[in-house]
Amino acid sequence: MFDLIKINMKNEINEAYEAGEEYFESTKRKAVVPGEVILTGEDFLPGEGTRREGENVVASRFGLSEQIGRVVKVIPIFGAFIPRRNNVIIGRVADITFRGWLVNIDSAGSAFMPIEEAPRFINRNEMDQYLKIGDVISAKIWSVSSRGIDLTLKGKGLGKLEGGFIFRVIPSRVPRVIGREGSMINLIKEKTGCNITVGQNGWIWIKGESLDSEIKARRAIEFVSEKVFIDGLTEKMEEWFEKN
């Protein structure tokens, strides 16, 4: 019986999700300020960044409201990075301690990369030969606790980033920069021929064959991160590449 309910629920969620995808295309996003009533009615469910107050669904933060099926949520577009488990971030080694490396990831609380989380065995005496202070790494957040943030380098595509340069965009814009299933970032990679790694904390690393292509990639990413309110951004981006 319980299993049956579970299966039903799963189907319902899938249906809602699929329907949501279609809605997603048609609902117009709109700017909301904290305390503003987004929708009125018992039919809607408050999602991320919203709350219910009697009949109304009210925004709890500043951003763009969006309706997917029955769920209403607010997409943040400004603000500092809030670390979550499994985020891939880019950080800079700030210090070497007895047990690992302290990494600055541009968020509340610095992150720690224990020596055991390096992909190969590293001798305690030779830690600076693997990662020096000032080195840039791409790492995954392995845990977030009240003590701090722990990182790992074990995983595909993680490790030290050599050469190239890093710069920063507003962390809430990262999903836009990446695009749906990486469409945006792949387009930029393809058009400029650069290697690009985007950290969830808003730091972006670029390395290309020439400085010109690197700068072009950076301009493209900055263009995307500034244009928050436009739909069909990938097409706009293609136009942009033709002009530049």
Binding site: A31, V33, S60, A108, S110, S146, F229
Partner: protein
């Protein structure tokens, strides 16, 4: 009954307001708010790690406000650095803003709000609170509501909204009265009530009504400024 004020305003009329969001590129959130000649800017940093460590609270994030007049903001140069007055206003601003924030999501961190007055012509704390409310929203911090703040005063027996410096210094009749109020935009919750001078208890209700009306106008300006950054 109808009379005109020194700058030609009606009793319940506010000075022209200007609000702008995103004025400080280095901050996580920032805003400017002006009441006529009074101009305040606010910057929000964080949530970020709190030092010294003993101030950290593992249950919730904390809010830290700094208010100050810049030395060129007043006609007589103000000596830079904190004073008794700026400490007091920092603290009341903090208390005015705290009820609308939800910082439980960010334990051990601090949200820094820095308010600076570029030009002072009375009503600096209220302009500062209005700017801080915008800057906090801009920084993407979870908030219950926006907050609006205005001062109500008295010219002898007449109640007036949003005093300027000349009106604040008007000593004739019943003496100078300055009643600073901060209110949540969507509800009737007041988070700041500061009275400087004398007022009859039965008049206070009228003050609140006038402030509520004025806050509605301020809220419209704030809302417009916030939406402009997205829809530009």
């Amino acid at each position: 009954m109808t009379f005109k004020r020194i700058d030609g305003r009606k009793a319940e009329e506010l000075r022209p307001m200007v609000a702008k969001v995103g004025v400080i590129p280095n901050a996580d959130g920032s805003a400017m708010f002006a009441f006529g000649k009074t101009v305040a800017i606010a910057a929000v940093y964080g949530p970020r790690q709190l030092h010294p460590q003993h101030l950290q609270n593992p249950a919730t994030g904390i809010l830290r406000c700094t208010y100050d007049l810049l030395s060129f903001s007043v006609s007589e140069r103000k000596k830079p650095g904190p004073s008794r007055r700026s400490h007091e206003i920092s603290k009341v601003t903090e208390w005015a803003l705290l009820p609308l924030l939800n910082l439980q999501e960010f334990p051990n961190t601090v949200v820094d709000v820095q308010i600076y007055i570029l030009q002072a012509d009375a009503g600096t704390r209220t302009a500062g609170i209005n700017a801080a409310s915008l800057a906090l929203a801009h920084a993407g911090i979870p908030m219950k509501d926006l907050i609006c703040s205005v001062a109500v005063g008295k010219l002898d027996k007449e109640l007036i909204v949003d005093l300027n410096k000349e009106e604040e210094d008007f000593e004739e009749g019943e003496g100078a009265t300055d009643f600073a109020v901060a209110k949540m935009a969507g509800s009737d919750e007041f988070t700041l009530l500061q009275l400087d001078g004398k007022i009859q208890p039965e008049v206070v209700k009228k003050v609140m009504r006038l402030a509520t009306e004025a806050c509605k106008k301020i809220y419209d300006v704030q809302k417009k400024a916030l939406k402009e950054v997205i829809e530009k």
